[in-house]
Symmetry: C2
Subunit: 217 residues, 2 copies
Amino acid sequence: MRVGVVGTGTVGQAIGGRLVELGHEVVLGSRDSANPRAVDWAAGRGDRARAGTFADAAEHGEIVVNATAGVASLAALEAAGAGNLAGKVLVDVANPLDFSRGFPPTLSVSNTDSLGEQIQRAFPAARVVKALNTMNANVMVHPAAVPGDHDVFMAGDDAEAKRTVAGLLGEFGWPAESIVDVGGIAGARGLEAYILFWVTLMGAFGTPAFNVKAVRA
Amino acid sequence: MRVGVVGTGTVGQAIGGRLVELGHEVVLGSRDSANPRAVDWAAGRGDRARAGTFADAAEHGEIVVNATAGVASLAALEAAGAGNLAGKVLVDVANPLDFSRGFPPTLSVSNTDSLGEQIQRAFPAARVVKALNTMNANVMVHPAAVPGDHDVFMAGDDAEAKRTVAGLLGEFGWPAESIVDVGGIAGARGLEAYILFWVTLMGAFGTPAFNVKAVRA
C-alpha cells in the first residue's frame, strides 16, 4: 500500500520505517523536501522509502498518517493540501502537547475540543481516525516491546476507515482483541486527555516503555 | 479508625459503607445533617455509621475523604472547616466534572491545574492524597468486581499520608502491587485528565465496570 507520513520526528520515522519493513511504499513528508532527517531516514531503506514535502507525502498516500507535533498539525496538513487528503484515511497520531511552560506539558486544545476533531472539521473530506496517540513510538509499531496484553484505541466517524486502520495495526503486531474502537471522532477528546495521564505515569515509571490494558468485568 | 466522608452521593455512600463493613467508624457528612440520603445510609448500619454535617464528618475523621462532586468540593471542604482538616490525611476522590453542557462532560479545572492541587493549596495543612478517582464507585471498594490485575493510582506530597491511604486501599482489597504512586499532588492533573478517557471508554463499553492496568516492559 502507498502511505504518506506527514512529519519526520520520532513518531513519523518509527511508523514510516515499520511500514517500509512491512512492504509498503512510504513517502516521509516534511516542510522542506531537503530536510536532512527525512533524507537520512530514506537513505538505505531501498526503493520503498522516499523523502518529500508534506504535499508529496499526502499525494502519494492511499493512507496518510499525521505524525507531526500536535501544535503544528493543522498547518502541516494545510500544506499537505486538502485535495491530497480528500477521500483518504487520515490516521491522526498527534498529541497537541505544548511544552512552552516546560514540563509537564499542557494541551493546546483539550476538554471541550480535540485535535482529532479540529482536523476532521478542517478537512471534512478526509476520513480521520485518531489512533496510536496513547503510547510511545516504539510501542506503537512494536507492541510486543511491552509484554502481555495491552491496548490501542481508535476513534473516528468512518467505520470503513477504522477497519483499514485496524488492518494496519494488525500488521504492526496488534492482536484484534487489543484494538479498542471507542466510537466517533469526538472520542479523540478522551484519547488526547489521556496523554496527560501517560506523561504522569512516564514520570513515575521513569520510562516510556509501558502501555495500558482496559480490563472489563 | 475514625473516617469522615464528605459527600453523600454514590461514591460517598460506597466508600462510607465499605469502611463501616471493615470496622471503621464513619460519619457521612452533607450540607444539612438531616439530608435523607445520609440518614438513610446510616440507618441499619449500626453504631459505627452516623450522618452529620460536613464539619461533623471532618471533625470526626482521623482520615477525611472528599467524595463530593468536584465542582462543589472546595465549597464543601470550606464548610467542613480548615481547622478540622489540619494535619489530617485528606483523600480526594473527586473529579471536577461539569455536566452543564450535557454529555460528554468537560472538566471545570484541567490542563494547567487540577482539583487535587486546588484543594492542597486551599488547605495547606491538610495532607491531600488524590486517589480512586479513576474508576467507578463499586470498583473503588470492590476491586475484585473487575477480574484480574488492574490498578489504582495515587498522588500526593506527603509520603506518610500515601502509606496510610495505601493501607486503606489494601483493606478495600487492592493488592499492594496494584497501588501505583505517581508522585506529588501535581500528578492529580494526569489522574483527573484520565477521567475524560474513562468517560470515553465507558461510552464504548456500555458499562462502568472496567478499569485499566498499566503494563510495563
